[in-house]
C-alpha cells in the first residue's frame, strides 16, 4: 500500500507559476537624425496578461516603462508625433519587440529615425523597390545557377545549398573581421575557399562516394537535408545566433541616381555578380567542359559512352556552383551582414526561382530568379513587408498549376 502512495504526488501544485520579483525597466531615448532630442513622442506598450501602457518622451527625449512580468512586449511609436521631415528609417518597423526573459535586467530599446523615406512617392518607391528586386534576383540567380547545374548533371535536389551561402558569408566575415584582411582581398579568397570546401571537398568526400554506392536520388535528397541541419547548427555553434556586419564599409551612405539610391558597395558587388553570371553562361555555352556538362544533364549514359568523363564534369559543376553560391553569400554579407540562418532564409527563394524557371535549365534559373527577386520586393507596395516571401511562394504554386514545367522547362518533369 505504501508503494502505491509513493508513486503519486501532487505534481500540478509543484510547478506553481513564477510571478513578479524585481521590476524591469524598458527605456530609451528618441533623437532625430542629427541627435537632437524629440520630446512628446508617444509610445504604446503592450505585453502579456493584457498589459498596456502609453508613455511619452520627456524634454530630453527619454522614455521608460516599468514592467512586472516576463514575456514579450511590443512597443509602438506614434509616427504622427514625429516632427515634419523626421520619420523612422524603416516605416514598417514602428513596432519593436522586447523579450524579457528575466526580471531585473533593464532593456534599452531604439527607434532609428532618419530623413523620411516614408514620404517618397509611389513612383520613387516603385523604382527603388525594382532596383532592390533586381539585386535580390541577382543574388538568388547566383545561387540558383549552381543548384540547377548540380540538379541537371546529378539529379540531386540539394537542400544543403543554402548552407554554401552561409559558409561564404562566414568565410568573408572571419577573413575580414577577425584576420583583418581588407574586404577587397577577403572576398576573392573567400570565394576560392568556398569553391574548394563547398564544391571540391563536398563532392569528393560526400556525393561522389554516394553516387558510387548507387544511393538513390530521394535518399540523397534526405542526406542533403541531414547535412543542412548539421551545418546550420554547426555554424550556430561556431558563430552564435546574432547577425554581424563586416567592420569595413559598414555605414556607407547611398548615392542618389534620380529616383533611386544605391550604396557604392552594392554597385560593386552587384556588377561583379553580373560578370560572374556572364562568365558562367559563356563557360556553359562555349567551352568543351561546359558543353560536356550539358551533354551529361541531357543523358549521362550516352555522354559517358561518347567519351566524356562524367565524374570530372560533375566535379567541375560542383566547384562552379559552389563558387557562385559562395559569392552570393559574400554579397549578402557585405551589404546586410551575416547570420547562421542566412542560407536557410534564401533556400526556399532559390527553390522557387529554380522551379519557376524550370529545374535543370540554366537560363530558366536566371529568369526565375529575376522574377522572384522583383516580385518579392515590388509586392511590398501592396502587402506588408513581413509577408513578401509568402507572396513569392504563392506565385510559385500558381505557376505550377498553370505551367508545371516552369517557364523555360521541358515537359518531362511532370510525374
Amino acid at each position: 500500500m505504501l508503494s502505491v502512495s509513493s508513486i503519486l504526488f501532487l505534481g500540478s501544485n509543484a510547478s506553481a507559476t513564477e510571478t513578479a520579483a524585481a521590476p524591469t525597466k524598458l527605456y530609451g531615448t528618441i533623437t532625430d537624425k542629427d541627435g537632437i532630442a524629440l520630446p512628446n513622442i508617444g509610445i504604446a506598450v503592450t505585453g502579456p496578461e493584457e498589459f498596456t501602457k502609453n508613455v511619452e518622451t520627456d524634454a530630453q527625449g527619454n522614455w521608460e516603462v516599468e514592467i512586472l512580468t516576463k514575456g514579450s512586449f511590443n512597443l509602438t511609436i506614434n509616427q504622427d508625433d514625429l516632427p515634419e521631415g523626421q520619420s523612422l528609417t524603416d516605416p514598417t518597423k514602428a513596432t519593436i519587440r522586447a523579450n524579457v526573459f528575466s526580471l531585473g535586467n533593464d532593456l534599452k530599446l531604439l527607434f532609428p529615425i532618419g530623413p523620411g523615406i516614408a514620404k517618397a512617392s509611389m513612383l520613387e518607391r516603385s523604382a527603388q523597390l525594382a532596383l532592390d528586386g533586381l539585386i535580390l534576383g541577382l543574388v538568388i540567380g547566383l545561387a540558383a545557377l549552381g543548384l540547377n547545374l548540380i540538379f541537371g548533371t546529378t539529379g540531386l535536389t540539394n537542400f544543403a545549398h543554402g548552407e554554401i551561402l552561409t559558409m561564404g558569408g562566414l568565410l568573408i566575415y572571419y577573413l575580414s573581421a577577425v584576420l583583418k584582411f581588407p574586404v577587397l582581398v577577403a572576398a576573392p579568397i573567400g570565394v576560392l575557399l568556398g569553391a574548394f570546401i563547398s564544391g571540391f571537398l563536398q563532392d569528393r568526400y560526400l556525393w561522389k562516394p554516394l553516387r558510387k554506392r548507387g544511393t538513390g536520388l530521394i535518399a540523397m535528397l534526405v542526406v542533403s537535408i541531414g547535412l543542412a541541419i548539421f551545418l546550420r547548427y554547426f555554424f550556430l555553434f561556431l558563430f552564435g545566433g546574432d547577425t554581424r556586419q563586416l567592420p569595413q564599409y559598414a555605414g556607407q551612405a547611398g548615392l542618389e541616381f534620380g529616383l533611386v539610391s544605391i550604396t557604392p558597395k552594392s554597385i560593386l558587388t552587384t556588377s561583379i555578380g553580373i560578370i560572374l553570371i556572364i562568365l558562367a553562361t559563356l563557360w556553359l555555352l562555349k567551352t568543351r567542359m561546359g558543353k560536356a556538362s550539358r551533354a551529361v544533364s541531357d543523358n549521362p549514359a550516352l555522354a559517358s559512352a561518347s567519351g566524356i568523363d562524367v565524374q570530372k564534369v560533375i566535379r567541375a559543376v560542383w566547384v562552379l556552383g559552389a563558387a557562385l553560391a559562395t559569392y552570393a553569400g559574400v554579397i549578402i554579407t557585405i551589404n546586410q551582414g551575416v547570420s547562421f540562418l542566412m542560407g536557410q532564409d534564401m533556400l526556399l527563394l532559390i527553390f522557387a526561382a529554380v522551379t519557376l524557371g524550370g529545374l535543370g535549365t540554366a537560363n530558366g534559373a536566371l529568369v526565375g530568379s529575376l522574377i522572384i527577386g522583383l516580385f518579392v520586393q515590388l509586392s511590398t507596395l501592396f502587402i506588408p513587408t513581413e509577408l513578401k516571401y509568402v507572396g513569392a511562394l504563392i506565385i510559385l504554386i500558381i505557376i505550377l498549376i498553370i505551367r508545371p514545367q516552369g517557364i523555360l522547362g521541358k515537359k518531362e518533369r511532370i510525374g
Partner: protein
Amino acid sequence: MDFLFITQQTLSATIGVNTIIFALAAIGLNMHFGYTGLLNFGQAGFLAIGAYSVAVPVVSFGIPLWIAFLIGIFNSIIFALLLGIPTLRLRADYLAIVTIAAAEIVRQIARSATFNEWLGGSDGITGKFGKEFFDLNPFKSGLDTPILRFNANDLWVVIVGWSLVAVITFVMWIMVNSPWGRLMRAIREDEDAVRSLGKNVYLYKMQSLIIGGVIGSIGGFVYALSRQSVQPDNYGTALTFFAYTVLILGGAARVFSPVVGAMIFWFLIVFIEQILRQGVSNNLIPDWLIGVNQVGQIRFMLMGLGLMALMIFRPQGIFGDKKELALDAKA
C-alpha cells in the same frame, strides 16, 4: 553524474508527449511516403493547422473545444486539397519543393503581425484553451517513480495520446492490408501500371494526402493541448525533417515503425542531451569546448549527422524491409 535522473528523464521522454506528437506526424507521413510514395515535405503545415485550429476558435472566438477539433479536421482536409490539386501531378522532387513552400506559407502567415489579432503573431497563442480537456482529467496528482515522472496534466495527455496512437495505428493496419492499401502500394511502385488498369491515380493520391494530413493535424492537436500554447516557429521545416527521421529510423511502409521510430528518436535525443548537460555542468566536458547553452546545438548537429548516416547506411530503417520499399522507385 546522476544516472538515476538521466534514466528517469530518458524513459519519461521515450513514452512522453513529444513521442506521441512525432509518432502521429510520422504515421501521417508513412501514409504519404511509405505507402503511396508521395514526398510530402509540408507535414509541419498540417501540424500547424491542427494546432492553430484548436487554439484560435477557442481563444479568439469562444467556440467549444470539441467543435474546434472538428474545425481542425475540416481545415486539414481543405489544406490537403489546396496542396494536392496543383502538386499531385508533379514528379516527386517538385512535390517536395512545393509542399515545403506551402508549409512555410502557413507558418509565415501565422507569425505575421498582420493577423496578430487572431493568430497571435510570432508569440503565438497562449491561454487556457485546453481547459475543457483537462477538466476531464481523472488524475488529481502526477506520477513520480524513480524511472518515470509526469505531472497530472502530462499524465492525462500521455494516456489519451497513446490511446489515440493505438486506435490510429490499428485503423492504418486495417487500411493498408485492404485492397485499397495494396492499390496505394502499387501506385508507389508503378503509377503507370495502376493507371493502365483503369484506376484514377490522382484521386487515390489525394485520398492518401488527406488521410495522412488529418493524422498529422491530430498530432498538432496533441502539440497544442499538451503545452496549452501554440508557437508558430515550432512548426518550421525542421519539424517535418525530424518526422521523416522518425519514419526512416523505424522503417517506412511498416505500420508500427513510426511509433517505434518516435520512441527510439526521443530516447536517443533526451539521453544524449542529458549526458551532455551533466557532463558540462560537472565539468567533465571542458567549458571552452561546449558551453551550457550549446548543448541544444550539439543535439541538432547529431540529429543531422544521424539522419545522413541512417540514409546512407540503412535506408530501410531498423525494422524496414528493403524489398518492401524501393525508396527510389519514383526518382
